[in-house]
């Protein structure tokens, strides 16, 4: 079974109540499942479908469309480096390479120690403080190569909770 926390289940019911049509709650439920379990499994897709009175394909087609949902577990810390123009011209590619080097990992993979997954993402809407990186839910601004190295050290040393998260 799904083993969702009581808190997640409570937040799901609250989310469903926000809409006159239950189907609208698919995205909120997918976010909640992913926050709870780290990724969206086949079981979760079927579970959400049944919860909202939908076919599994109605949920599955969203998981495959929206970039933020993932089908497989990732590293304990998720590092998303902005790839788009304003960050790139300020050195975003180099920032991304520094993170990969620090953890000895390729793009989109789980690092060998299971610590991180480094990804390129498209514009994070903080172009004025480029290059930017999201670590978990937290945005880090002006992350040049040196700052990427120091953030990597923080993560390895067990960064403060605000900078962590899936």
């Amino acid at each position: 079974m799904m083993n969702l926390t009581p808190e997640t289940l409570g937040r799901m019911d609250e989310a469903i109540a926000h809409y006159p049509v239950r189907r609208s709650a698919v995205l909120p439920l997918l976010h909640l499942v992913q926050e709870d379990q780290g990724h969206v499994s086949d079981e979760a897709i079927e579970w959400i479908a049944s919860k909202l009175g939908l076919q599994p394909i109605n949920v599955y087609e969203l998981v495959t469309f929206y970039p933020m949902f993932r089908r497989k577990p990732i590293g304990r810390t998720h590092i998303k480096v902005c790839r788009t123009l304003s960050c790139a011209i300020m050195g975003g590619y180099r920032t991304c390479a520094e993170f990969q080097k620090a953890f000895g990992t390729g793009l989109g993979q789980v690092s060998p120690d299971g610590e991180v997954t480094v990804e390129f993402v498209e514009c994070l809407a903080s172009c004025g403080t480029a290059p930017v990186v999201m670590i978990g839910d937290k945005l880090h601004e002006r992350v040049d190569a040196a700052k990427a190295r120091s953030l990597s050290e923080d993560i390895k040393a067990g960064a403060p909770p605000a900078a962590r998260g899936r």
Partner: protein, 445 residues
Amino acid sequence: MIFRHVDEPGYTSDLACYVRNGGYEVLRKAVARKPEELVDQVKRSGLRGRGGAGFPCGVKWTLLDRKSGKPIYLVVNADESEPGTFKDRYIIHQDPHQLIEGSMITCFANRVERAYIYIRGEFPEGARILERAIAEARAANFVGPDILGSGYGCEMYVHRGAGAYICGEETGLIESLEGKRPYPRIKPPYFPAVLGLYQCPTIVNNVETICHVKHIADMGGDAFSKIGTPNNTGTRIYCVSGHVRRPGTYEFDVGRLTIGELLHEVCGGPLPGRTFKAVIPGGSSAKVLRFGERFRGKRKVGADMVEYDWGVEDIPLDFDSLGMVGSMGGSGGVIVMDDSVSMVEALGNINEFYAHESCGQCTPCREGSLWMKKITARMVHGDARAEDGALLKSVADQIAGRTICAFGEACAWPTQSFVAKFGDEFTAYAQAKKQTRAEGAAELV
């Protein structure tokens, strides 16, 4: 106007601070007014949408089907995704109650009883700030079943997206809010004002636009229309990024500044030892402008037609002037590139974005955006050919105008403009045996 308080020291995002600075007073007065009168004020204000298209807000509201008997919805478009744009994030983080007050005034004016803020998935912190602010506003009776004892009620919820740019397109956003893939709808018949969310009349407005509504309700439409220039009224938040000394968000009267004034005086000019090469004035889909090119024609000033002869620096930052020079004010995202940037690589970067974000519904866009990306990536990775500029243009020309939504134009315009204005660079790129990157230049593809 919108940033009046946010930059003050000690200004916080909580309700108490907002109220201390006069917050929700405009809503208090608004709910005692006639809804039609508020709509009229917004019409008189000349406010144009700040999300990208610059469509007049009052007209959008007037198009609402009020006779259908169906509920009317407001959806605030906070899916800020146009590369180069970062104003909505700032408003949401620094002053969420201004957005909520503007939303509630909009709802009251249009008899909306349920509003959603569609916030992009990459703003988890912003979503939490908004949820907390709505809860505060509800507890204080600024949102909820009986707003300020007026008998008028409206609920408001935050809905998070999940990383898809196309959700910024208003009908795609509506599909997404209905729990579907965000494939944009065909217009007609699916104009949101008639057949929007759940097939009900729906207003979709940008965050900044909604904030302006508060100020229009406060000062009156006529007073607002005197700010800025005719047909380009109010203030506008310019988001400047890239190669300037002081990037950031700056609010000015629309059209008061030229591109040169914004970049040199406000943003401190180019980085040491560099010169400006190109600027994209309205988000990455706006057509690029090349420093050194001239724009000539006639424009209306008052009742007269006056000739203009502008360099890039001379172009006033308003919707109409940027349109006249073949680009657009768009979302207000101004991306600056200096002489260290290779235009072939910059286009390669932009093309990768659009290829990633095409929803795949229409063939010309799905295939075309991918081919443009493949061509520029091949060029950058060592196999540039003499015919590539023409090839890119031919692909782009077959996308624009042939798709359900404006993404077709959004992905074609960068390629069309880069190739047209920097054709020499594309040719030189193909002729060079080996590409050398300027000193200090970053990798872009």
